[in-house]
Structure formats: C-alpha cells, structure tokens
C-alpha cells in the first residue's frame, strides 16, 4: 500500500430506527477537534428528525421492554464486546473530541466498555433489588416490580463524549426503555460511531436513536413531545434547563436533573436506573 494513500473520510449521519439517514433538513455543521481543527461535517438534526426518532423509539418499545431481562443483558454485553474491538478507533475520536492525551482517551474508552458490562449485569437484577413482595395486611399476594417508563429523551453530556454518553444511555435501555439521544453538540463524532456499534451488536433498531446537532434546537421539541415519557437533562445548556422542565410538565414527564458534578470514571450508583422505571404494584387475593 502506498505511504501516501488518501484516506476515505466518513460521512457522519444520524441513527434513527436502526438506519443511518441524513438530516431530513439536509443540513450539516462542521465539527472541530479540541484545538479547533476541522474533523468532519455532522448532520444537523432538526425538529422533524426528533419526531422521527421518537416514532422509532415508540415503535421499538413493546419489543424491547417485552424482551426478557436476560436477553437485554446479553445484548448490552454484546455492545461491550463490539466496542472493545474498536477501542483504538474510539480512543482516537475521543482524544480528538475532548482534547485529552491518547492514554487518557484509552482509559475513558475502557471505562465506557466496562460501563456497558456493568449495566448488562444489571438488567436481570434490577427487579430483584427495586421490586418487592409487599406484606399487606390482608388475604392478598401483593408484589411490586419496576417497569420501564417508556421513551426517554437523553440530552447526552456535552463534555464527556463517549463515557458520559454511555453512562447516560446504558441505564435507560438496561431497564427496557427506548431512547432518543441528543449527542454532545460540539463532540458528536464518538456518538455516531457508537451508533455503528449499536447497529452491529444485536440492539434492535429504534431502541437507541442518536441525533447530532444543536441541543438547544432539538431539546425543546423532545421536552414538549407528548409521546416522550421522560427527559434526562444532563447535557442541557444551563440557560435552557428551566424552560425544558416547564415544557416537560405539559405531559407530566419524569425529569432527571443534572447532578452538580459527575465523575464518569467512578462506578455509578443506582440513581440512573431508578430514574426511568415505574413501580407497578399488583394485588391478587389468596384463597381456595
């Protein structure tokens, strides 16, 4: 092979319903590395792309939420496997996006792989840990189980382009929700590449949908969308948070507010798993 071979540049597209469309708006925007050098043009997702992504997520919800927890665990573990195989590519993308040294980027990628593994193990334990048999005072058997909330809009962290993204998305889908993710606006490329991983690792189309573009443009449409059940504000621009919360109130969405600071390298607690599940209590009489 020639030393001077011209590389083939990738077109970074959206990920909706298992497919990689361009934005319906036809728009794209330039993405630079941490030093300001041009990396690529990313699709600039629009209101209608958000709408399509929500529709895809809703369509995927019955199948994904109805899958066995064991099956979801295997799928999430498969994501880790495929991601592991592309460590070098992700490390390069993360280093470019976040401006960290390659070694640091590798650490972040490894942590992202491990995060999928961690949540893969949670899928079939969350009901044990959050559910209960309720010792009610009467001749009834009563139990409570956590169920997925539904379609969750995730505003991914703006800084942590891969590990933060995975830390937000994995718990959402681990419990059976489907997600519409708005990637970091300025660091979207690892998210698009992660979409390729998802597309090739048994995650059914529509379970995770990834939009790139301007968070402040897309987020309000998701916050007000009546078919979105919950909203993760982690990557919401600070000035926009209150307004997004107000919009979310229109259909009583569950809202996860950003924590003051989050060190994604540390092992998470259960907070993100609890945020997007509904406790369902079932009663039945006990008798002959």
């Amino acid at each position: 092979m020639s030393e001077n071979r011209i590389g083939v540049a990738k077109t970074y597209k959206l990920y909706i319903g298992g497919a990689f469309p361009r934005s319906e708006s036809g728009r794209s925007y330039p993405v630079s590395d941490a030093k300001g050098a041009f990396l690529a043009n990313a699709a600039q997702g629009s209101r209608k792309d958000a709408r399509d992504a929500v529709a895809a997520a809703r369509k995927a919800f019955p199948g994904w939420s109805g899958a066995t927890a064991y099956n979801r665990g295997q799928v999430l573990y498969r994501v880790a496997e495929v991601l592991e195989g592309r460590r070098e590519q992700f490390a390069a993308e993360v280093a470019a996006a976040e401006g960290v040294a390659l070694k640091k980027a590798q650490q972040l990628v490894d942590a992202a792989v491990d995060r999928w593994v961690w949540y893969a193990g949670w899928t079939d334990k969350v009901a044990t840990v959050l559910g209960a048999a309720n010792p009610v005072a009467g001749p009834y058997f009563s139990f409570s189980v956590p169920e997925p909330t539904g379609v969750v809009a995730v505003l991914a962290p703006q800084q942590s382009s891969l590990l933060g993204l995975v830390s937000a998305v994995a718990p959402v889908v681990a419990t059976g929700n489907t997600a519409v993710v708005v990637a970091s606006a300025d660091r979207p490329l690892p998210a698009v590449t992660l979409s390729e991983v998802l597309a090739t690792s048994d995650v059914p189309g529509g379970v995770v949908n990834v939009l790139t573009g301007r968070t402040e443009e897309i987020a309000p449409w998701l916050a007000s969308h009546a078919d979105v059940n919950a909203l993760d504000l982690t990557g919401a621009p600070e000035a926009l948070r209150a307004e997004l919360e107000r919009s979310a109130a229109g259909t009583v969405k569950r809202v996860l507010r950003p924590r003051p600071s989050e060190d994604y390298l540390r092992e998470p607690d259960l907070g993100r798993l609890r945020a997007f599940v509904e406790s369902k209590t079932v009663w039945h009489p006990v008798g002959t």
Binding site: P139, Y140, P285, V286, G287, T288
Partner: protein
C-alpha cells in the same frame, strides 16, 4: 344417569345441562367461579349493617317464623319431641303474639309423635332422611327412609347428598339420587342438604347448589349440623346467589336454609340482611328461607323481650324447650 323422563321439567336452556353425565359436568364446571376473598369480604360487609329499633323487631319476628325448630339427637324421646312441639306452637308463653315457628324437624321415627302434636297448627313437620347425616347407605335404604318419614306424616324432607359421589365427580349419581328422593317425597317439600363443610370450597358449594336445583330440590340447605363448619354467612350467600340466578334463568323461586351454627339473633339478622340484599326482599319469607336451629329460638325470644321492654332479658324468662 337417569333417563330424561324422570328428570324434572326444565326450560330448554337448562334441560341440556342434565342430558347426560358429561353435559351435567360441563354445565357445573362452566358456572362462574367464586373468589373466596371476594365472597367473604362481601359477607363481612353485609355483617356490618346496623339493624335497629323497628327494623330489628321486624327481623326478630321474621326470623322466628323461619325457624325449623330442630332436635336430632340419639337421645330424642317422644317426651322431648312433644315438648319441642309445644315450644313451636307457643314460643313465648308470656307473649302470645310471638309468631309460630315454620316447622319442627326430627328423625323419621319421631315424625308420628310430632304429627300428633302439630296437626292443624300449620306448622310443618320436617324429617331428615336418606341415612342422615352421612348419607352412607344404598339408594334403596334412602328411598325407604324417605317413604317411611312421608308415610308417618312428614310434610318436608331434609335429605343429604352423597358427598363422596360429589367429591369424586360422579355428579350424575348425586343428581339421580335427588330426583328419585324427590319422587319419593310426593307432595312433601324437599330440602337438599349439601353439607357444605365437607364440600370445602365455594366453587363446590355453587356447583352442588345448581345440581340440587336442577334435580328438583325445593330448598338447598347448608348442613346437617353434625359437621363443622356448618352454616356460615359466605356459604349462605353463595347459595342465595344460586337461587337468585335460578330465578333469573327460570322465573321460579327456590328456598335456602342455613342450618347449624346460627345461635344468636345477631347472626340470624346478618343472614336476613344477606337474604334481603343478595337474593332480594321476596325471599324474606318462610316459604323461601328457613333457619335450621335449636338454640337460636330462645335468643330471638330474649332479644324480642329486650326490644319491647327496653331492658335486657335473661335466660330464666324464656322456656328451655
């Protein structure tokens, strides 16, 4: 199973049910189930009705008029039965306005004695029959037992079903037996004792109730009084639902008799509330509802005195029998 010709006449929708063993089984198992917790909860709810003043007095008199005053002891003698009949005629000698009881209930060999005592009073003479209380004998013996009681003057026969046959799923056999006993009764009314304490589940109580109604029983009765639990409010309620549903299906009203275990006025009134609200007010009538009891009567009489006198009465003021 007996040929249809010996079966009672039934509307077409129900005639199919008794065509053969398999149809009967399908029908009984096709009845809606009874949820234990639900039926007991409803019974407990009915039990919280607060019956006071005039409505209580009405209930006491109604209950007295529904009593099948019963003695079913190995030690029964003519003297005991005569004294019971006297009590039936005049439950409270101090208060002649107290209604008479509905019937006196005795073993077949005591029927003749009871008849002497009760002739012309309008009080019915009920006799247990069919190898009471276990029902463990041949059909021949049971038919003879019944015929003997009827010939001795019984106007009502309280038969027991073959619980062994019922529990082993031989519904046709139970059905045939009831049909034949009914035939042997002639003009006497037939009460079919299900012995619900041995049937164990409410589903069985409902099935046995329908079985007895299909076979022509005039009354369905909970218990012999020899098995515990005997009559309970939820069991009575399931049976009241059966006669109500029977009425919906056929337009015909059949009776219910809880027996055994109802000793207090309070219990009796709870049962009347169930009759009133589950079957309907039409059933508040000795032709359609009876209490099989012995000690209940005196508690009703004491409570009646309390209601009228405004102070509590005591056992020395009512006659022991």
């Amino acid at each position: 199973m007996a040929a249809p010709s010996t079966s009672p006449s039934l509307p077409p929708s129900l005639a199919d049910a008794v065509r053969d063993d398999a149809s009967l089984r399908r029908f009984l198992h096709g009845l809606p189930g009874v949820d234990q917790v639900g039926v007991e909860q409803r019974a407990a709810g009915l039990g919280t009705r607060s019956i006071k003043k005039a409505s209580k007095l009405w209930a006491i008199d109604a209950a007295i008029g529904m009593v099948d005053l019963t003695t079913l002891e190995g030690a029964d003698t003519a003297g005991k039965v005569r004294s019971l009949c006297a009590k039936a005629r005049r439950p409270d000698p101090d208060n002649p306005d107290v209604p008479r009881v509905a019937a006196v209930c005795v073993y077949p060999d005591m029927v003749a004695t009871a008849k002497q005592e009760l002739d012309g009073t309008g009080i019915q003479i009920a006799s247990v029959a069919t190898a009471f209380p276990s029902g463990r004998s041949t059909l021949k013996v049971k038919l003879e037992d019944t015929a003997f009681a009827v010939e001795s003057g019984a106007t009502e026969i309280d038969m027991v079903i073959d619980r062994g046959a019922f529990l082993s799923g031989r519904y046709g056999q139970v059905f045939d037996e009831i049909v034949q006993i009914k035939h042997a009764c002639g003009d006497a009314h037939l009460k079919v004792i299900l012995e619900t304490g041995e049937l164990a589940t409410y589903d069985n109580v409902r099935r046995a109730s329908w079985l007895a109604l299909l076979a022509g029983g005039d009354f369905i009765k909970t218990s012999t009084g020899k098995v515990s639990p005997a009559a309970t409010l939820p069991v009575t309620q399931v049976m009241l639902q059966a006669v109500r549903d029977w009425h919906t299906a056929t337009g015909e009203r059949r009776g219910v008799k809880p027996a055994g275990g109802i000793r207090s006025t309070k219990d009796a009134i709870k049962h009347l509330v169930a009759v009133h609200e589950v079957a309907g007010p039409e059933w508040l009538n000795p032709h359609l509802f009876r209490f099989g009891a012995s000690t209940l009567l005196n508690d009703l009489l004491m409570q009646r005195r309390t209601q009228l006198a405004g102070h509590y009465s005591g056992p020395d003021y009512v006659t022991v029998d």
